[in-house]
Subunit: 345 residues, 2 copies
Amino acid sequence: MTADRRPGMSGRNGIRPTMKDVAAAAGVGLKTVSRVVNGESGVTPEMAARVQAAIGVLGFRRNDSARLLRTGRTASVALLLEDIGDPFSSALSRAVEDVAVAEGCLLFTGSSAEDPARGRELALAFCARRVDGLIVVPAGDDHQYLLPEVESGTPVVFLDRPGTGIDADAVLSDNAGGARAGTAHLIAHGHRRIGFVGDLPTIHTAAERARGYREAMAAAGLPVAERWIDCGPTDRTRVAAAVHRLTTGPDAVTALFTANNRVTLAALHHLPAAARPALVGFDDLELADLLTPALTVVAQDPVALGALAARRLFDRLAGDTTPPMHLEIPTLLIPRGSGETPPAN
Amino acid sequence: MTADRRPGMSGRNGIRPTMKDVAAAAGVGLKTVSRVVNGESGVTPEMAARVQAAIGVLGFRRNDSARLLRTGRTASVALLLEDIGDPFSSALSRAVEDVAVAEGCLLFTGSSAEDPARGRELALAFCARRVDGLIVVPAGDDHQYLLPEVESGTPVVFLDRPGTGIDADAVLSDNAGGARAGTAHLIAHGHRRIGFVGDLPTIHTAAERARGYREAMAAAGLPVAERWIDCGPTDRTRVAAAVHRLTTGPDAVTALFTANNRVTLAALHHLPAAARPALVGFDDLELADLLTPALTVVAQDPVALGALAARRLFDRLAGDTTPPMHLEIPTLLIPRGSGETPPAN
DNA sequence: CTGAAAGCGCTTACAG
DNA sequence: CTGAAAGCGCTTACAG
């Protein structure tokens, strides 16, 4: 409430001085202030000192938004995630941020929150701000709305899943390979009837993981009963029902491949450790190594994913005009106990 | 590489049309374009149609950065975290984002990454962009550099810990109360010698939790041996050493209060379940309920913290000039098993 | 070495 | 209803 200046304090309440103000206070031209602020050469020490003094008295700080408008770029990139509150997204975010900061860029983040419309709004809002580039974990099944932005010169890199209806860079995990490795691991430990519980098959990663499961079974010459494959929403209720169906009855499976972290969590909660078949989960979980038995997983590398996507984006910004590419990051099978138990019967 | 227009596609490579271009194409004045773009009334249908047609042909999209320069605000806020990659920070982030989006603002996020200098650079970079406001999880022990920004009219809300050297809004967990409850819980289950393993005492939350521990002991009339309190960095090695020291020897404690999630994790890894004393941890962990025994925790509510901080910020932006306030969010004791075992001796 | 002019892409008054 | 002018706070040419 007190609008008076306190001793030793520069700046006044709610009033940001501009270069024009500094120029007037120092009795110099606007351009000279600009030169001093930006550390350009060719200013006499006397002039520079006068400007610096005025800057100090007024508490001037350059308005970067205005500067960037003139410059043509915004020195900012945006990262659109599924939900920045989940561990996978936040790990991606940190990796992207580190590259962005190293490149002198600030980072906008946003969550589509399982709502393709919100994702679209956010993506277009970022573009309207003229972010230099956009990294998108795509939600929904149509990303053509980004085409005009890409054609107007805003590079887009898809992360975790490819975009639909638009040919752009994508950085993905080796989902099929990871599922293949996890399934083969169960097979190697003697299992022949293996259940697959996954996400909605319309989701690219889910489909790829199901493919990897089938390939591993086929490679081992094992038949797959379609009943063993249960894909759908990942809420607790549905996963619990799927797990129950697969693990009971005369043709119960002896092992389970749970194809993402939410499915794994739900399965673990539904199955008491004693009644649990062999289990391998896609995605690592904190504390997974402290469970009894410890949880065997196919781990993704979100840091590598985020860093590579960011690299791709900044390479595009640096002028790379090669055709769009799809890059894959390997997964890692981490045996810890739950996936190494032999079939019960 | 192909700069030619494809049928059905509007916009050309790398060239963003401006309102001026649209006005020229439509043969109208700039202001008329502005009216149509912003949905203002007072434009004849014919004019509007001509403008819309030109917008479509050229693929015009308003540059919000330019608009906001004229408007004086940026419709963006920034959230400075410790590390957006950790679960607590990311939960805060999501909560802040939801409020920001509802307020029509975009969100910058950044991580100080345990480096006060990086935190400072990021905070000032956000201010230089003239974000409308700033939410800061403060790192380091001096935040006076934010004073000029606050006085220039950029509201700052501190989150999780108060800022130092600056009087501003702060939204905090009831750290002392949570630690008091956790410690009292152990006392209620018969423990008299309780160890406290915490973070560096220079960190506000760590100091508050230690205070809560002492208060609970005092309230129960129990003496506290200073050896039972071990504060320091939260790396595995140091925590393991602390836990080892506390839980062995003639005066070993019968229960442990681990004062944050990293300490709890390290303690769980160091202590085999069989040799584990009663344990209550500050901060909830995913899978905590699936451990054997399940983990009793004092849970914070990051969603409430983030939402309240964002509310505070937008209230300031709406003109609230009441004195800075410190708001506290309660914690929740969740008994699951590890904190309900009686003393071994 | 220094600075007045024009412009980045919009909006805000203000005339017609 | 419509639009020319001025301005948001800077930088980019371009003269002195």
